[in-house]
């Protein structure tokens, strides 16, 4: 009995990541940014669409990373926030003719409130219990969207078709390319916000709670406030990702936001490296492209192949993309010395 308790209480939920290690250096950031800016010019629309989805899932993984990597709380319910964001945008665009760009902040605010409120009861839970509570939220969401009194707005099981925006000011680019750059701008803005948040007073409070809750409260951190705040911020960013997702996919339906999405996002975070923000994009790439690769290897056993690939990643690089990045850095350092 005591052994079990020991495991539950002593094992740190999330490994402590120093805040410097959470981001990329300026040089690397600029290279990545340049690549993201230039790439769409050379590829087909379909690839641009995939890159857009990559950024969108990247944002959603980033949001989870702030929650788990930053404040040490688990969530398997991110798909619920994603769905709320997506539906907010779809309903506003299709029923109220609101401009797509304006729906993003609205979705963010709605999801922030939703996440903040959900964070209140979640305060009493920690570790696996919190994961279970959020799991319930993710399972309930698709059914809630089908509710009768909401059907007038949500379209019930039929979902809602969203109109894709054209490039403004008569810019000579396809809808896909415009949406990609639009998403890229939003993503960069949120990334910068996230980096600064974690470097700020609030970010230090998050990390103090993550590392040791009792010590944090002894130092005067309002644990309840910062825990719910982390939930709210994470939900808001996930909601904005959901909004962008609805515009890119042009369709929202309850079947799009099942528990599978929540688990994929969680997976993306682990593969990208918990607490390493740039890893979010790597994690997103994993959850978008690896299932396709698995399917290419075997159609009937795509799930099993995906499992094997995932297992390999976890086994070889348990800290995800962060570990690879660190190894790469060390290697580069050695080469420079020689």
């Amino acid at each position: 009995m005591s052994a079990v308790e020991d495991v539950v209480t002593e094992a740190p939920a999330v490994e402590a990541v120093p805040k410097r290690a959470m981001t990329l250096g300026t040089g690397t950031s600029l290279v990545v940014l340049a690549a993201l800016l230039i790439a769409p010019v050379f590829v087909k629309n379909f690839i641009i669409f995939q890159m857009t989805m990559l950024l969108i899932y990247g944002l959603a993984v980033l949001a989870l990373n702030i929650l788990t990597g930053g404040s040490g709380q688990f969530s398997l319910g991110q798909s619920a926030f994603y769905a709320v964001g997506a539906y907010t945008t779809a309903v506003l665009m299709e029923h109220f003719n609101v401009n797509y760009a304006l729906t993003l902040p609205i979705a963010g605010v709605v999801c922030f409130a939703f996440g903040f409120l959900f964070g209140q009861p979640a305060l009493r839970l920690s570790g696996v219990y919190l994961a279970l509570a959020t799991f319930a939220l993710a399972t309930a969401m698709p059914q809630l969207l089908k509710l009768n009194f909401l059907e007038h707005w949500t379209g019930g099981v039929q979902g809602l078709v969203v109109t894709k925006p054209d490039a403004p000011f008569g810019l000579p680019m396809s809808q896909d390319m415009w949406l990609y750059y639009f998403t890229l701008v939003v993503t960069i803005a949120i990334y910068i916000f996230a980096v600064n948040l974690l470097r700020s007073r609030s970010g230090r409070a998050f990390m103090a709670i993550r590392d040791n809750e009792i010590a944090a409260s002894a130092m005067g951190v309002d644990v309840a406030l910062y825990k719910t705040l982390a939930f709210g911020v994470s939900a808001a960013i996930t909601g904005i990702a959901g909004s962008l997702g609805a515009i890119a996919v042009q369709f929202v339906a309850p079947d799009s936001y099942t528990i599978t999405l929540a688990i994929s996002l969680f997976l993306g975070m682990v593969v990208g490296g918990v607490g390493w923000l740039p890893g979010s994009i790597v994690g997103a790439a994993f959850i978008i492209f690896v299932p396709n690769i698995a399917e290419g290897i075997s159609k009937g056993l795509s799930g099993a192949v995906f499992g094997v690939l995932l297992f390999l990643v976890i086994y070889l690089v348990p800290h995800g993309a962060r570990q690879v990045a660190i190894l790469g850095q060390q290697l580069a350092g050695k080469l420079r010395k020689n």
Partner: protein, 411 residues
């Protein structure tokens, strides 16, 4: 080194093919859109091979096997079918990604038999904007028969509404004084049936239907609803439910020793997963309708069409479970596409494919009931709209009566 040579060879072949293609088109009256050539027709498809609806994945595998058989026989008008099928996991965002991959990366000529109402809704606007056929979609929703607004989308199986109309027509003829109660699932599936019934009964709907009772798919049991319906004392019970609830309903009415005339949707007619769990003795006399032959029914043992189907399964899908209705479905859908491509001749443009698909006349795939024929026109994008009534007797369904047709246009 080796890689470089292969690459160069590939480039050469592509260039030759491109030249051959353009010059060929100029010589003969051959017309091609992206995805078709003198040697190949590229067909795209998405299926839920994984996820909640993965049981349907067998449809895609059957279609793949069917086209392999066609290719072994020399293809269609000398062209081989290249069937590219991807997994969408029954998730609309994934469906959009995979269909865009099919169209923009694989460059398929048509997207054929994509499965699921949500997935098809998600890709419909995109495919219609790109003018790419979304042919013979695998869903029973009524909205696919809408040639005016979506001229590039066409259904295949009978829609839920047309099936419901057939029940209504039958009732009007056989039991015009019936007091009807309707039990339906509270979603698009159940509501389509409800609407079809009301439309079919027309002016008599308000007097004949004495009760409409809905349930949520998440309810564990619908016994309470049955008791409530019995209290209203109807003599006809229309069961518009998915398999699990259909079995519960038949069982519960028997437990209440209540014997109304029961009519079941085509979705829930499986002997193995509905009638048997409900109890064969409870299910005697239950009515439904069908459009395809049941592979387990001994009455088709000597049917030439089903013999062909059996040979196909034995040769191209050895070891597959023959009682799976999805294999009958996939065979029927794939043979309809093969027929359309044959009719297209050397004019393999997307516009011509839609034109030919909309001019099917009395086409009867091997797996459809005798007398059920596929008919389409420029204003009728619902290929199968005929069904035959059947009654459960002993341990199987017995067909009876005429083939009834119930065309429904989407508004």
């Amino acid at each position: 080194m080796h890689f470089g040579r292969t690459l160069r060879a590939a480039a050469l072949v592509t260039a030759t093919a491109a030249i051959a293609l353009t010059s060929g088109a100029a010589l003969a009256q051959k017309k091609y859109d992206t995805g078709a050539s003198d040697t190949e027709i590229k067909i795209g498809n998405i299926m839920p091979y994984s996820g909640p609806a993965s049981a349907y994945g067998i449809i895609g595998k059957t279609e793949e096997a069917y086209f392999r058989m066609i290719n072994d026989k020399g293809g269609i008008n000398g062209r081989k079918i290249n069937f590219v099928t991807y997994d969408d996991g029954y998730s609309p965002p994934k469906a959009v990604e995979q269909v865009r991959k099919l169209v923009e990366s694989d460059e398929v000529l048509v997207v054929f038999n994509p499965l699921g109402t949500p997935s098809n809704t998600a890709i419909q606007k995109y495919l219609n904007a790109k003018k790419i056929p979304q042919l013979f979609v695998a869903t029973g929703a009524t909205k696919w028969n809408d040639p005016k607004n979506f001229p590039w989308t066409m259904g295949w199986q009978p829609s839920y509404q047309s099936e419901a109309q057939i029940y209504a027509k039958w009732l009007m003829k056989e039991k015009p004084d019936a007091k009807v109660a309707i039990l339906y699932q509270n979603d698009d599936f159940g509501k389509d049936y409800l609407k079809g019934t009301k439309d079919g009964l027309g002016a008599k709907a308000s007097s004949m239907i004495i009760m409409e009772e809905s349930y949520e798919v998440s309810e564990p049991s619908i016994d309470g609803h049955i008791v409530k319906i019995k209290a209203a004392n109807p003599d006809v019970l229309l069961i518009y439910t998915t398999p699990k609830f259909a079995a519960q309903t038949i069982k519960k009415t028997a437990e209440l020793s209540w014997k109304p005339l029961q009519i079941l949707t085509n979705v829930s007619i499986s002997v193995g997963s509905v009638m048997k769990p409900a109890g064969f003795e409870n299910a005697q006399g239950v009515l439904s309708a069908a459009y395809a032959k049941d592979s387990t029914d001994p009455q088709w043992a000597n049917d030439p069409g089903m013999k062909k189907w059996n040979e196909f399964v034995d040769k191209y899908m050895p070891g597959a479970d023959k009682s799976d209705t999805s294999m009958v479905y996939g065979y029927g859908a794939a043979s309809t596409l093969a027929k359309v491509l044959e009719m297209c001749g050397d004019d393999l443009t997307r516009a011509n494919i839609m034109k030919q698909a909309a001019s099917l006349k009395d086409f009867a795939p091997d797996t459809l009931l005798p007398g059920v024929k596929i008919n389409t026109s420029a204003t009728d994008f619902a290929p199968i709209s005929q069904l035959q009534m059947q009654r459960f007797k002993g341990e199987k369904w017995e067909l009876f009566g005429e083939i009834i047709s119930g065309d429904v246009a989407s508004e």
